[in-house]
Symmetry: C2
Subunit: 197 residues, 2 copies
DNA sequence: TCTCTAACTTGACACCGTGTCAATTGACAC
DNA sequence: GTGTCAATTGACACGGTGTCAAGTTAGAGA
């Protein structure tokens, strides 16, 4: 536990993140992760009770490493609702590709596993909070198009910015991350921001 | 094969659709379908080589029963691009809830199965065609906002209207199908239609 | 040095769902 | 009767997760 080399738990998490990254979150088995971490499959279970628990821990671990809060700071410091919305989309759009592997694995596990579903939902609700904050900022500036309630606009923005949509646009449609950020900003602006003339 | 009662194949397809509907596309096993159809699990394999093949057949079967073409006719007959876009969203938005169970099952199978993935992709490309046609109509009316190329607008509309997004809005956000149709129309209009003043 | 403990290893096994195989039944056609 | 075809029953392989028991290894404390 207090040995000189890196804790096994951390080695497992590193291996998990690396493997999921590499295989885009699919087809990575417990045994593969163990091998990558240089330990036996059973040893993984000494640290994580199940695959779902490991995935949840890996997600949390990655969030710390990538420092979500720092990335969202510019958005929170925005001087206007319009700016805040744009900066939020920028931060999120650049974050997705970095977490994609792990997120995808959790997304898949979620379909069959209770714990994974709860963890995913939790993260998505946190993300929704960012959307809500941006919409609220827009609203209190009087710049939210009058057809929308803040609630409804949040629902839509949140849905627009889902990982699945990023996946579709960058995968099926062949967009780059830059294009994604650029056009999602345009989409959000046209959809939610009242034209002032 | 030519007996008086309904062909077993059709009974299986009916049972599949019914079960998937009922369980929202999740946790339905081959044995459950067989039981529902009143035959043995193995008999299902006499008609469909694999679960994926059964799902693909069920999707096709449901499409015939629900008559997609008829539903899309109003959209195709629209007098303007703006109208076409709205009618397309309306047709599609009202179609999704009817196919959701089967679609969801195929969507899940697709993550692990080649054939299911191909079938799903195929259907989604057909759906994309509808999006493209609506955007083209808008474009040739000169009503597509100048920031968008038809291609990019199609990508976005197609992504917006995904089953996953419908799932999120009606599930997590608690929208009704009517609300979905209404607000998606608004979203599409604000996003793609150039304001003429 | 001996011993205790904790982390880890090896190997076997249960569980589940899919898909396969072989032997059998029952009905209808010629 | 004989052939055939759809369906049945029951057994089994496979892959991946998770469990269990027994054995190994290394470090800490007496």
């Amino acid at each position: 536990m207090s040995s000189g080399d890196v804790e096994t738990r951390t080695r497992i998490l590193d291996a998990t993140v690396r493997m999921l990254e590499e295989h885009r979150g699919q087809g990575v088995r417990m045994g593969d992760i163990a091998k990558e971490a240089g330990i036996s499959r059973q040893a993984v279970y000494l640290h994580f009770a199940s695959r779902a628990e490991l995935l949840v821990a890996a997600t949390k671990y990655l969030d710390e490493v990538l420092d979500v809060d720092r990335r969202l700071a510019p958005s929170r410091a925005a001087k206007s609702g319009v700016e805040r919305l744009a900066l939020y989309i920028e931060a999120w759009g650049n974050y997705i590709p970095e977490i994609y592997g792990v997120a995808k694995a959790l997304l898949l596990a979620q379909e069959t596993d209770e714990a994974a579903a709860a963890a995913w939902k939790d993260r998505m609700l946190a993300m929704r909070d960012g959307c809500r904050a941006a919409i609220e900022a827009l609203h209190s500036d009087g710049d939210l198009a009058p057809e929308w309630t803040p609630q409804r606009a949040t629902d839509v923005l949140w849905t627009m910015l889902s990982v699945r949509n990023w996946e579709n646009l960058t995968g099926e449609c062949g967009w780059s991350t830059q294009q994604y950020v650029r056009w999602m900003k345009l989409l959000a602006k046209r959809t939610f921001v009242e034209e002032s003339e």
